[in-house]
């Protein structure tokens, strides 16, 4: 079990050790998240992205590492900071971007927006915007898999600040008692919105130091090392699938930007930001792939492809029309409408 570094651990070095296909896939997924979000942010500044956004820049290794270890019929439950997790499950960029810019063809018709990205067909079971709510919901999904004997696993991502809300406690206890096939992943990016997690938490490791309260072992992983995350993910997901119950993983990472679109994140010490930028999961992993013998050209090919995907999504987004106002009152009920009188 790794323990938490008081200062960030050194950038992961040494050659990549995973099977090359896997390594390239993880790299590609991280890149898709990164390039999509970077462009999203530019489009917000350009006034095209209208609603709020919460970027996961710097946290891509957690999304890529876990998604890479999931079965296609496994379920992801994430938060308003959910672009990475949604894309990592294979949801196409175009409908996602359309949701963010608020045009027709959007993933949820514009009803949800950036904070609620969901694509049931890809196992992206929702981005939840009220802290803690999706932990019990993930337990319910896991219970349903257990009940139906499908060996599906629910993976639930949340932040460090979420470990102090009641729903966290109730969900962890019930999951443990029911031995539900659910994996709880705390992305400890060191901050709530603007408040450092250490200043409002009774323990040093907001998730790991709570594990024993549910009869679980404390698991900590370097969330900026995609291979370490991937290995941890395989361990805990297999455990859940085998019927050996839930796990709680604390992934140490960092939010490179502010909390949401409007926040410059000025409250963070420069050295801290610098230290974590130095361990950006993407360039560091790129180097490790090269050290492992991958050819730069291969990586550049991936980079070109991903850039093209983002550009195509943007092209569609710029041309798409606004939604029809009438759709504002559809899909409240299973009959497609929203009538309250019979």
């Amino acid at each position: 079990m790794t323990t938490i570094p008081v200062v960030p651990p050194p950038a992961p070095d040494g050659a990549a050790t995973l099977d090359r296909e896997v390594g390239l896939r993880l790299y590609r997924t991280m890149l898709e998240c990164r390039m999509f979000e970077q462009r999203t942010h530019e489009l917000f500044l350009a006034g095209l992205v209208r609603g709020t956004t919460h970027l996961g820049l710097g946290q891509e290794a957690v999304a890529a590492g876990f998604a890479g270890a999931m079965r296609t019929d496994d379920w992801t439950f994430c938060t308003y900071r959910g672009h990475n997790h949604t894309l990592a499950r294979g949801v196409p960029m175009t409908p996602v971007l359309l949701e963010l810019v608020g045009k027709q063809g959007a993933l949820m018709g514009g009803k949800g927006g950036s904070m609620h990205l969901t694509s049931v067909e890809h196992g992206a079971m929702g981005s939840y915007a009220i802290v803690g709510a999706h932990l019990p919901i993930a337990v319910g999904a896991a219970w349903s898999a257990q009940y139906r004997g499908t060996e599906q696993v629910a993976v639930c991502f949340f932040g460090d600040g979420t470990t102090n809300i009641g729903a966290f406690h109730e969900a962890l206890n019930m999951a443990a008692v029911w031995k539900a096939p659910v994996v709880f992943v705390c992305e400890n990016n060191q901050y709530m919105e603007y408040t450092p997690i250490r200043s409002v938490t009774a323990v040093e490791r907001p998730a790991a130091d709570r594990a024993s309260a549910y009869g679980l072992e404390p698991l900590v992983v370097d969330g900026n090392d995609v291979e370490a995350v991937y290995e941890m993910a395989n361990l805990v997901i297999d455990r859940a699938r085998r019927g050996d119950g839930p796990s709680l993983v604390e992934a140490l990472t960092y939010r490179q930007g502010g909390h949401s679109r409007a926040d410059p994140g000025k409250y963070r010490p420069d050295e801290e930001v610098a230290a974590w930028l130095a361990r950006d999961p993407i360039p560091t992993y790129r180097q490790r792939l090269l050290d492992a013998g991958m050819v730069g050209a291969e990586l550049e090919a991936i980079e070109t492809e991903v850039k093209a995907l983002v550009a195509e999504a943007e092209r569609v987004a710029r041309e798409a029309p606004d939604p029809e106002p009438e759709t504002a009152t559809t899909q409240l009920w299973a009959d497609g409408g929203s009538a309250w009188r019979s």
Binding site: A133, P136, A167, S342
Partner: protein, 328 residues
């Protein structure tokens, strides 16, 4: 045909649907081994086993959240919330998650689930275990809400709620749990959103729900007995969907409207009824519309005080008679 209590009707309605659909599961505090603290789930554990009937920790957010997660992945959970007052500790799950997720995902997520809960006063439980919260649920878009007043309706509306593809809150009136009535054998399913004329009348329409229906009917009988006005009592049965036509039809006939609500007055469901009539049938009204509700205070534990708070047949009859006499 057999005599059934309102309490037993809850279990019968759930059992009927558990027999029919293996994806129907039940969870809640003390619902399995103990058969529910109100004995409304008695026998279900023996009949359907621990896999389908589950006792939980005291974790309402987890109970209702788990029901949601199960519903969105193929089950049809029935979650018991022991007392409806406890919505307070799980309201986010109900009002913000369950009610909104189908809409937010543009219909991607289906939530066929039921939350059944003991609702209302009359049992001397005091302010934190006696609230009638049907109006809390009615105020939230995305929730269907039923509140049966008879054993037959309890079976039929519970069944319909479980079969419904959307989330339904089933309010079980605590003060009616011991009521008995003959209920037909075999499958019973009542449609959601259909009101029932509990008593026909000509002089005034009295709209009531759940525990207030028998009291409104008793008030009507009392007035009839001493040659007072003839009241038509409408049992709404369901708040969402709401059977507006049944109310309008009756008001057009009687020209007067009263509501009888167990909830404390402000923003009760009766206010919504009145505002609908005031918009759609105001010219049909011949006089003031009076809402008979629990005063806007918490319920007291003391029997004398609680009885003074909840609308009684006496108060209903007296209020309606006085109103009609002074304004006709």
């Amino acid at each position: 045909m057999a005599e059934l209590t309102y309490r037993a009707a809850v279990a019968r309605g759930i059992a009927q649907e558990m027999e029919r659909d293996p994806n129907v599961v039940l969870l809640g505090e003390d619902v399995a081994a103990a058969g529910g603290v109100f004995k409304t789930t008695e026998g279900l554990l023996d009949r359907f086993g621990p896999k389908r009937v589950r006792d939980t920790p005291i974790s309402e957010q987890a109970i209702i959240g788990a029901a949601m997660g199960a519903a969105m992945t193929g089950l049809r959970p029935v979650a018991e919330l022991m007392f409806s007052d406890f919505f307070g500790v799980a309201w986010d799950m109900v009002a913000n998650q369950i009610a909104k997720t189908r809409y937010m995902t543009d219909g991607q997520v289906a939530l066929p689930l039921v939350i059944h809960t003991a609702n209302g006063g009359g049992l001397r439980f005091g302010a934190q275990h006696s609230q009638a919260i049907e109006n809390w649920a009615m105020a939230i878009p995305g929730l269907k809400v039923v509140a049966p007043s008879t054993p037959h309706d309890m079976v039929g509306l519970m069944a319909a709620a479980i079969r419904d593809p959307d989330p339904v809150i089933v309010c079980e009136a605590k003060s009616l749990l011991a009521d008995k009535a003959d209920v037909a054998d075999g499958e019973i399913v009542e449609p959601l959103g259909k009101a029932r004329v509990a008593r026909e009348g000509t002089d005034a329409t009295v709209v009531a729900l759940a525990s207030m229906v028998p009291r409104a009917v008793a008030a009507a009988e009392r007035l009839a007995a001493d040659g007072g006005p003839s009241l038509e009592v409408i049992d709404l049965r369901s708040l969402v969907p709401l059977d507006v036509d049944a109310v309008l039809r009756s008001v057009e006939k009687t020209t007067r409207l009263f509501t009888v609500e167990e909830n404390p007055r402000l923003c009760g469901w009766g206010a919504e009824i009145v505002s609908i009539v005031a918009e759609e049938a105001i010219y049909a009204l011949d006089g003031p519309v009076v809402r008979i509700a629990t005063p806007h205070v918490p319920l007291a534990a003391n029997p004398v005080l609680e009885d003074a708070q909840m609308p009684s047949a006496e108060r209903i009859a007296a209020t309606i008679r006085r109103t009609l006499e002074t304004t006709d």
